[in-house]
């Protein structure tokens, strides 16, 4: 399958720093893609280039097989920026209609779609309310509807769950899965790792304007695994020191071990069986994305850069 979006050697330099420095990656059609990075990594700049708000200083953006053209491709993209914004004094229905028309929908088309989404999200009674009367979570839902209303092929969500209660967060999450199933491609930018692990198929980690990690969540976890295993036994046992693995912790029938170089996981089992340990469960412990993230980003002056952003 052709990728929906292909970035090659994308660059954006500001006077004081390289915000996006030679980044290339591909996003497959229908996938949920996570763009990760600490504050100031250049995520927003990268997204603004993909949405046509900024022109890249170098490199190419290929959308749907063709070079990206900010005028023609606007309708293919739905962008929900991190800093949400709506006209406070405007009625919600009129506002949704206006923003949908700006995306190129006709008035009739837009009305029909707004009604569909408002019904789906139980927002029908909101039509004549003003945004200033809504709670933060409610306006978040409205913003999501506005983003996906025109059925874009590429949906870019910057921190879509911030400020949402678990119920509404779930509603949006379900909808993200639905849209991906229907063929939309979703770029999901966040620094909440547990959400990424749960939702994303494929991630790219950025730091200081550069790509430092690219792959599926499973692959990356494999890549960063530290050969740690968790063994559960039926009663507490003492594990003697041995050349195969070292014991990291041993508490209440749960033993955490790290396999030494040159040995396989089966060697551990063999050893334990010889020792007459009754094994109830045996699991590989994969690092969480959070651990990987912290490991990669730590000590890179990323925080210092976040403050001199722009």
């Amino acid at each position: 399958m052709d990728p929906l979006l292909r970035l090659s050697n994308l660059k954006k330099y500001y006077a004081t720093q390289k915000a996006v420095d030679d980044i290339s990656f591909e996003i497959q059609k229908g996938s949920i893609f996570g763009l990760l990075g600490p504050n100031g990594a250049g995520k927003t700049t990268l997204l603004r280039m993909i949405t046509g708000i900024f022109y890249p200083d170098g490199g190419d953006i290929i959308l749907d097989g063709k070079p990206f053209n900010s005028i023609d491709d606007i309708q293919k993209i739905g962008y929900m920026p991190e800093e949400r914004g709506l006209y406070k004094k405007m009625k919600i229905g009129e506002q949704a209609l206006y923003l949908a028309q700006l995306k190129g929908l006709s008035k009739a088309e837009a009305t029909e779609k707004i009604k569909y989404w408002f019904k789906k999200f139980e927002m029908e009674t909101w039509w004549n309310k003003k945004v200033e009367d809504l709670s933060k979570g409610m306006s978040q839902k409205l913003q999501f509807v506005i983003t996906v209303l025109h059925e874009p092929k590429l949906i870019i969500l910057d921190e879509p769950f911030s400020g949402l209660d678990p119920l509404n967060a779930n509603l949006i999450k379900e909808e993200i899965y639905n849209l991906a199933k229907k063929g939309a491609t979703i770029i999901f930018s966040t620094h909440r790792m547990e959400q990424v692990e749960e939702i994303c198929d494929h991630i790219v980690l950025m730091n200081l304007g550069k790509k430092i990690l690219d792959g599926t969540v499973t692959d990356i976890k494999q890549q960063f695994k530290e050969n740690s295993f968790l063994i559960q036994t039926d009663n507490e046992v003492a594990i003697p020191t041995n050349p195969i693995f070292s014991t990291i912790s041993n508490e209440k029938n749960k033993i955490l071990v790290k396999i030494n170089e040159g040995y396989q996981s089966n060697d551990v089992l063999k050893y334990l069986l010889q020792e007459n340990v009754n094994i109830v469960a045996y699991n590989e412990l994969l690092p969480s994305l959070n651990d990987i993230f912290i490991k990669l980003v730590e000590n890179t002056h990323a925080t210092a850069r976040a403050f001199q952003n722009n």
Binding site: R48, G52, P81, E83, G85, Q101, L102, I146, N310
Partner: protein
């Protein structure tokens, strides 16, 4: 272009539907007309009545002191400075016996001090009476004197301006009034609607909708949509004001007594002349109304209105773009706006000052340059155009001024577009004029 149109529509309708717009639009003409009516009423009713007792041993003053609607003179015998209050007079005027070639003091004693205008008119009347008396002493009969007085009040200065073969009545007072009023209107418009553009841009930036919209339209389209939409609101308001003021005035005219109305109509038909004794029949108020209408008709209205619309739109576009640029660079702190606005408001205020000077002297070098430079030309040129084209402003000056203004607003729009597209997405950084200059002229 289609999207710019959508933005224009939104900017226009949200503002026109706003209660504040409706209140201001309908209240303003009422206030203006009400203010005029109130000051007119005060001018009539606020004048105090004076009854003046005159002690005149000479006897000849009596004929010259005629009662007016403010003052009534009487010549009692038994009144002096001690009892004039008791007798019901407000003032007493004591004239000593008149001696030729000798300066004499007249004494006016009042319960309340008398205004300067009133004092002057009384003094004039006395001097006139003395002059008449001296003429009579020199052998001129009273009847001759009266006929001279009646006949000598006919001179009235009428100025004409020559336009090739034909000449046209001109009126400097009217030109000054029109020039000042249109200059002031353009000045106010730029301030009010320019600031509205700035606030609109700031609103979009601070509530962060700018980024949502800019992912759908180009920043330039958003800026132009806002400028044009708000400009249309301004035009709508002006048109409504003009319609309302005209209709309110004609309603007010309907309240005039029927005979005055018919006299005005007759005067209009006969071009200000009434056959035979007709002139005398026309009342003073009918003459005044006719004269006002006649004076207003001497102005070249199509030219003035055409120029006004051009300079209104041109000046608005010139300044609104600059205001939009400033709005886009402001962060949450409105205080920033104040200091960044300063370089825009300064030339506006300066131009207004020049305008007030130009209304009196339309052809000084400063008037010429200020009517060419686009920062001041919308106001200053209007003040000059009121004096007539080509008599006060030659055609090439007008065309040059208009061309420079068009070039000017194209330049400010281009410049502001470049500042705007960077500023609107930039948060948390204090923007200086130096930085804005850098954005405007960097490549790409």
């Amino acid at each position: 272009m289609n999207k710019t149109w959508l933005i224009i529509q939104r900017e226009y309708t949200t503002r026109v539907k706003n209660k504040r717009f409706l209140i201001l639009t309908f209240l303003m003409p009422l206030l203006v007309v009400g203010f005029i009516a109130a000051s007119g009423y005060l001018a009539i009713s606020g004048v105090e009545q004076r009854t003046i007792a005159v002690i005149d041993p000479n006897g000849f003053i009596k004929n010259s002191l005629k009662n007016t609607n403010q003052i009534s003179f009487s010549f009692p015998n038994d009144v002096d400075t001690n009892n004039y209050k008791k007798k019901g007079f407000t003032d007493i005027l004591i004239l000593p016996e008149f001696k030729k070639n000798e300066k004499t003091d007249y004494i006016l004693r009042s319960q309340k001090s008398m205004g300067l205008m009133l004092q002057e008119s009384i003094s004039n009347k006395i001097n006139k009476a003395i002059e008449d008396q001296m003429l009579q002493d020199a052998g001129i009969k009273q009847s001759i004197l009266d006929s001279i007085h009646n006949a000598s009040n006919v001179a009235e200065l009428k100025a004409y301006e020559d336009k090739g073969k034909s000449s046209k009545e001109s009126n400097a007072g009217l030109a000054m009034g029109i020039g000042y009023a249109s200059g002031l209107l353009i000045y106010l418009t730029m301030f009010i609607y320019g600031a509205m553009v700035m606030r609109g841009v700031m609103e979009e930036k601070t509530n962060r909708i700018a980024e949502v919209i800019i992912s759908s339209v180009k920043p330039f389209e958003l800026m132009m949509g806002k400028i044009i939409g708000i400009g249309a609101v301004g035009l709508t308001q002006f048109i409504l004001w003009i319609v309302l003021i005209i209709s309110l005035t004609s309603v007010a005219m309907g309240f005039l007594p029927a005979d005055v109305q018919s006299q005005v109509a007759t005067l209009q038909q006969t071009n200000g002349q009434m056959a035979g004794g007709g002139m005398a029949q026309a009342s003073e108020s009918a003459m005044k109304i006719y004269n006002m209408q006649h004076t207003i008709a001497t102005a070249n209205w199509p030219l003035i209105i055409g120029c006004f619309i051009f300079y209104f739109i041109g000046g608005y576009l010139f300044y609104a773009a600059l205001f939009a640029a400033v709005g886009s660079t402001v962060n949450e702190d409105p205080q920033d706006a104040q200091s960044l606005m300063f370089p825009i408001t300064m030339p506006l205020i300066f131009s207004y000052v020049i305008t007030t000077m130009v209304t009196q002297n339309p052809n000084t070098p400063i008037a010429f340059w200020a009517s060419i430079i686009p920062f001041s030309s919308p106001m200053v040129m209007m003040a000059r155009v009121a004096y007539g084209v080509p008599s006060a402003v030659s055609y090439w000056e007008l065309i040059l001024s208009m061309a420079v203004l068009v070039g000017g607003f194209i330049f400010t729009t281009w410049l502001s577009g470049r500042i705007y597209r960077t500023g609107i997405l930039l948060y948390g950084k204090k923007v200086t004029w130096k930085l804005m200059f850098k954005w405007a002229f960097k490549k790409g």
